[in-house]
């Protein structure tokens, strides 16, 4: 087992201190930043897989995700210097009139774990704010969340704003308990994730292959 494998393991265990220590150690040892990053992402992938196989809980994923964040913070300057960017840039938020966090937060966590750069706009987000943020950050993907059936129309309105704004490189995906594939199609969303766990694969498929 290499030192980088140990780093991966520390992420999987959610052992924040050890993960940070090993990251610093690898940096000091002069390992390639992209290799250290790969070890971190691999850890989150393993946790994500365990989660999908119902061998891990969200709280465990969260701990792993925090360990990754702190390790990543150390690595960040080196990645910038090396011109290595996050795989994708994503904007997330819950649409206007809707205050539900949890689903949106889980998606943000999954995306961060996959090394996306995530801008979280919070809840009750007006449609314009989504468009602005997407433009400002040159987002690859925007995730709209809604839990209330009464705020589903706000989703539709937001997607219309995106069509008007003409940001052809930004895919808009939606999710939330009342959302169906049919609704996504109806309002012209680029994609739909039935749950947080499938949100990563969705983006990789939609944007990654484009």
């Amino acid at each position: 087992m290499t030192e980088l494998d140990n780093l991966t393991e520390a992420i999987v265990r959610g052992d924040r201190k050890e993960a940070v220590r090993l990251t610093q150690e690898r940096i000091d040892a002069g390992d390639e930043p992209k290799n250290i990053l790969a070890a971190l992402v691999k850890g989150m992938d393993i946790v994500g897989d365990k989660f999908q196989r119902q061998e891990a809980w969200v709280p465990e994923m969260l701990i792993a995700s925090r360990a990754m964040s702190q390790s990543l913070a150390l690595l960040e300057p080196l990645l910038v210097a090396a011109g290595i960017k996050p795989e994708f840039t994503a904007v997330v938020g819950t649409v206007e009139g809707d205050l539900h966090d949890i689903g949106k937060n889980l998606v943000a966590m999954m995306w961060r774990g996959a090394n996306f750069h995530v801008i979280d706009l919070g809840t009750n987000v007006p449609s314009d704010k989504f468009v602005e943020a997407a433009r400002e950050h040159n987002a690859d993907v925007v995730g709209l969340s809604a839990l209330l059936t009464t705020t589903m129309p706000a989703m539709k309105a937001t997607i219309e704003k995106f069509r008007e704004a003409n940001l052809p490189n930004t895919k808009v995906v939606i999710g939330g308990a009342p959302i169906t594939m049919e609704f996504a199609r109806e309002i012209g969303a680029d994609g739909f994730a039935p749950d947080a766990a499938s949100a990563v694969g969705l983006v990789r498929e939609l944007v990654g292959k484009a």
Partner: protein, 465 residues
């Protein structure tokens, strides 16, 4: 403020559907908890915007629902019908709109009474719109004022029951659920939640008193039901959700301490503990609320129900008719069955109750924690504790004891990857100070204070400490 130091129902055998020591009588003469289980119908709009422009259509929907519901209830000779109007946020933000709906429903109830002799009553549940801004202002501001206005005007118009799904403490509790953090959950429920409910329910019971209507009860929907839904999606362990349920009773109890009389809100499964403590009748929901959410407690939740609800269904067409009427049909038959059992005496009713309990309790810790035996144990732990914080700890410890005993005896299916959480939660509890002040001090130093306004929870000094 009443402080419940003993149980209204000491003996699990006395915890039974349709019967409670303190029945609530509606103006139409329904005696809730007085020996009959009544259907409580919930309904909401199909997917549509609520705006000035759409209000005529909104009212058409509610008119249709109340007209058809009273008619079908009369056709099936229901002994009574409770309707719950759970407002949609724009209707609470604009109380004029909310009141338009209230009037439509009260009119419909009156027509049902004069046309068919049907006994019916209305529960009005404004939204807790205070959280529409972040961090929420809990005791002032336009959102707060409009919410109270809808309470006040609904009571004045003659709504029988006032309820709310209040959210004070949710600012930190969502985080507690996602991170499986029992300490933070206790802070959200038993410190923040309790403080907010003391304030809010003093207001609500005051309004109810002024207008001679019933302050009914609250629910830990945003807390414990969120946990249940997450557990159902296998995001968090079911044992953790079950413990959260027990702890949530400490928060929902505050409504009764402030003068609420029941029936507690349908989605508050913690009502089983509250019934044991307060003796007030309780609304419950289970298998016939599958239109609103799936759950592991479909039958056991009926074991102590005084009204039986479908939680929520959109006014959309199913093959059998509009969805609320389809729901009502099933609710009425469910109630008929329970009422037949009651008619054969308490022993018979208990037989049915015990089947409901056994049906679910061995499959899921969240069902096990709602059984009459568990309810009395958790309820007792709560009332003997010196304060809400300690009650929260006691409820959690009692829940863990109930669940881990059952797991050990094979009485409830709890997997190994769930069972490890017993120790994990116990360690958390062991690590907590016994003094509430010390706990607040310590937790306030750790939580993300940007998510709530400390002074709205009378925590400002701690925040500055």
């Amino acid at each position: 403020m009443t402080s419940f130091r003993t149980l209204a129902i000491e003996n699990p055998t006395q915890l039974l559907f349709g019967v409670s020591p303190r029945p609530v009588t509606t103006r139409s003469g329904m005696r809730i908890g007085g020996g009959l289980v009544y259907p409580e119908l919930n309904f909401t709009l199909p997917t549509m915007l609520v705006t000035e422009q759409t209000m005529p259509e909104v009212l058409r929907h509610y008119t249709e629902i109340v007209t058809e519901a009273t008619r079908r209830a009369a056709e099936l000779e229901a002994p009574g019908l409770l309707l719950e109007f759970e407002a949609l946020p724009p209707m609470t933000e604009n109380p004029d709109w909310g009141m338009d709906v209230v009037h439509v429903l009260l009119d419909g109830i009156e027509k049902g009474e004069s046309k068919y002799g049907l006994k019916a009553a209305l529960r009005v549940t404004p939204n807790d719109t205070r959280e529409m801004i972040r961090p929420p202002r809990m005791r002032s501001g336009a959102l707060y004022e409009n919410m109270l206005a809808l309470f006040e005007r609904s009571a004045a118009a003659g709504a029988d029951l006032l309820s709310i799904e209040s959210v004070g403490g949710k600012e930190v509790h969502d985080e507690a659920l996602v991170s499986g953090d029992l300490e933070l959950a206790i802070f959200g429920l038993c410190v923040m939640g309790v403080r907010d409910m003391r304030f809010l329910w003093t207001e609500i019971t005051g309004i109810a008193r002024r207008h001679g209507v019933h302050p009914a009860g609250d629910t830990a929907c945003g807390f414990a039901n969120t946990a249940m839904v997450m557990a159902e999606q296998r995001l968090i362990p079911r044992v953790f959700a079950a413990v959260i349920r027990a702890v949530s009773a400490v928060r929902s109890l505050v409504a009764y301490e402030c003068g609420a009389v029941g029936p507690g809100k349908d989605c508050g499964y913690e009502n089983v503990f509250l019934k044991a403590i307060t003796g007030c009748p309780m609304a419950m929901e289970g298998k016939t609320a599958s239109c609103a959410h799936l759950s592991p407690v479909g039958n056991v939740s009926a074991a102590m129900a005084d009204t039986w609800s479908n939680e929520s269904v959109q006014n959309v067409k199913l093959l059998g008719g509009m969805a609320p009427i389809c729901s009502l049909e099933t609710l009425i038959y469910d109630c008929r069955l329970m009422n037949e059992a009651i008619a054969d005496g308490p022993e018979a009713a208990r037989t049915l109750r015990d089947w409901m309990v056994r049906s679910d309790a061995r499959f899921d810790p969240q069902a096990l924690i709602l059984t009459p035996a568990s309810a009395v144990r958790v309820a007792r732990a709560i009332v003997v504790a010196p304060n809400p914080y300690r009650a929260g700890i006691a409820a959690a410890r009692e829940a863990i004891a109930i669940l881990s005993d059952a797991a050990a005896q094979g009485a409830c299916k709890i997997s190994d990857r769930e069972a490890v959480w017993f120790d994990r939660m116990t360690d958390t509890l062991d690590d907590l100070p016994s003094d509430e002040d010390a706990f607040i001090e310590r937790t306030m130093a750790q939580v993300d204070r940007s998510t709530f306004v400390a002074e709205d929870y009378l925590l400002a000094e701690r925040a500055n400490a």
